[in-house]
Symmetry: C2
Subunit: 356 residues, 2 copies
């Protein structure tokens, strides 16, 4: 039964949900058809507001494969030489850059110059200077720059952030983030300084950096860090194997974090406040994020992170929706500034002050 | 039915257990009748091989109270002026020193000079120099020096150590220790540098130091540390509120630890190996120690730590029993050397190398 519209009535239609369902669909091309690119492509099949419509790769066979697998028209496929031509393609709104870290800067800037919105996998770049150039280029081109922070949309993560904001944890004093796995094939690009820009920190340690920020809800003001290398053959100069790092926050909270390529399944967040605690274990994996607080188990639904991320990014791009935790270039840049400081702290053995 | 003794027979009597049951009883005087002293006294009522027979206090009313409460003869009561006379008391074997940290050195040396075995609460002293003097004095006096490391006898803790030694965790790469509570009354001796020798690190941080050593099973070779102080009125110069510290071990394992007087119920250990993990939460409290490993929940029985500790110490003193994890002066000294290094690392902001 439809109720008549009355001022002050609570029976208004759910405008937000309608907008979400009926809003413009974000038509995306994926650049870099590796394993994570494929994961995103698969996840996007369930999207309501985002659609995979294009692909960019240096390998013709992969493009062919994706054309049939994901029903992508040949005219929406590009390689690394010609993808600037995407500017003339009115069927593509955004490009999701999922390539080795060191390539992000140039590729995102080219995407921006082609007038397309850029979504970039984390780390956004290999240092803050490059990240800033990307932010500037996208602003200049009047396109959005978003970073693939899929956990910013994860229900149990968001529940902890809600609890912290509501004061249910009391004053937050400590965050602990453990991020690591045992990396395999020593020949992969992630262990190549030129392509990865570092080692574990760029790839997995960034989860603890980003997590520290969204769990504590403040920006750190100092960082200290210590590197340990047990295998200098596998982890060459400039490719970090294990780094412990600590962050200090303006309110007096501190964080203890670990980034490693040499320990199995290390994926744990712990947040301690004066009134309670929250923990996630696993905290950042693709599978269900599980955890508990002083009030009991977290029971948020498991979502396919990349599906939700892409739907939400459509709303961010087209409806200017503001997510609980930002996923824009400024957010990516904050993590990069901390990574720069961690590497500096490792090099100098000293505390590094961070400026806003 | 008694079986005849046959060489090679497996039906031997349980000599160890018999010795334990029938062994000489350790007759103990407690020095310092505060809240922890009372806890030990209560726990000792259930001991099989240790017996509370004496008390040392500066407060006559407390001595009187203990005489009736624990059935202690007046002749076994002393004060801080006359307790050297304990050397003439043949009814006391050992003195358990449970006084403010800064007093331990002189008191333990006086106990040793009186020819009695010394049991000392942790921290054994306020720095390694004093600890060494205590070890030397006890050796010279030919008495044992033991430190109140009650967790070295705790079943779930020992199960993790067993698993690690048996290789069930694989190569151990990481330990995390979080030790803290929110300290109350600002006038207590624990917040007085002269009596405590420091702040949270001496009192609660030492659990993470000691835990790192027995969980990893190695001695650290370096330490880094960072101090944070949010309340300089409550935590005066030389009284640490919050210190994060990191340890590096010869095998490449690292530890991230937190010591704090400003966070509630922070009592967690986590050990990560190549094949599995172990965690304790709570890890060091008086109540049941709980935890899990990659194989499931730990199900060791809850014991009253101080009861078991005192029975085991009787066996260590009289039968030269070797505990799985030592509780002697050398063990206490190892923790003090690390505490010294942590304070040095905080002061200098640099990594401090540790020597054996």
């Amino acid at each position: 039964m439809a109720l008549p519209f009355l001022p002050g009535s609570v029976s208004l239609p759910d405008f937000e949900n309608l907008a979400y369902q009926q809003g413009k669909v974000l038509r995306v091309a994926i650049m870099g058809l590796g394993s994570y690119g494929t994961r995103v492509a698969d996840a996007m099949q369930a999207c309501k507001r985002a659609k995979l419509v294009g692909a960019i790769s240096g390998t013709p066979a992969k493009l062919k494969d994706w054309q049939s697998k994901y029903n992508i028209p040949a005219k929406n496929c590009y390689n690394y030489e010609n993808f600037d031509q995407i500017k003339n393609n009115r069927d593509i709104d955004a490009v999701y850059v999922i390539t080795p870290n060191a390539l992000h800067r140039d590729q995102v800037i080219r995407v921006a110059k082609a007038g397309k919105h850029a979504i970039c996998e984390k780390p956004m770049a290999i240092n803050a200077k490059e990240g800033q150039e990307m932010v500037d280029a996208c602003r200049q081109a009047n396109v959005k720059l978003l970073v693939g922070y899929r956990l910013h949309f994860e229900p149990n993560t968001l529940e902890i952030i809600r609890m912290r904001k509501a004061g249910e944890l009391g004053k937050v004093m400590f965050f602990q983030g453990l991020s690591g796995f045992k990396i395999g094939d020593p020949k992969q690009w992630r262990l190549n300084k030129e392509l990865a820009g570092g080692g574990a920190m760029m790839d997995i340690g960034i989860y603890s950096i980003n997590g520290a920020r969204y769990m504590v809800g403040e920006e750190p003001v100092w960082v200290t860090a210590q590197e340990t290398k047990t295998d200098p053959v596998k982890f060459k100069e400039g490719v970090d194997e294990t780094i412990q790092f600590q962050l200090g926050f303006p309110g007096g909270a501190v964080a203890s974090c670990l980034s490693t390529y040499t320990m199995n399944n290390l994926d744990r967040f712990f947040l301690n406040g004066e009134k309670g605690f929250a923990e996630l274990f696993p905290a950042t994996g693709y599978g269900p994020i599980k955890g508990r607080t002083h009030k009991g188990e977290l029971t948020g639904p498991h979502t396919t992170h990349q599906t939700v991320q892409m739907d939400e990014m459509a709303a961010i791009i087209f409806d200017n929706k503001q997510p609980v935790v930002p996923v824009d270039g400024a957010e990516g840049l904050k993590d990069l500034k901390i990574i720069d400081a961690i590497f500096q702290a490792v090099k100098t053995g000293r505390k590094v002050e961070l400026k806003g």
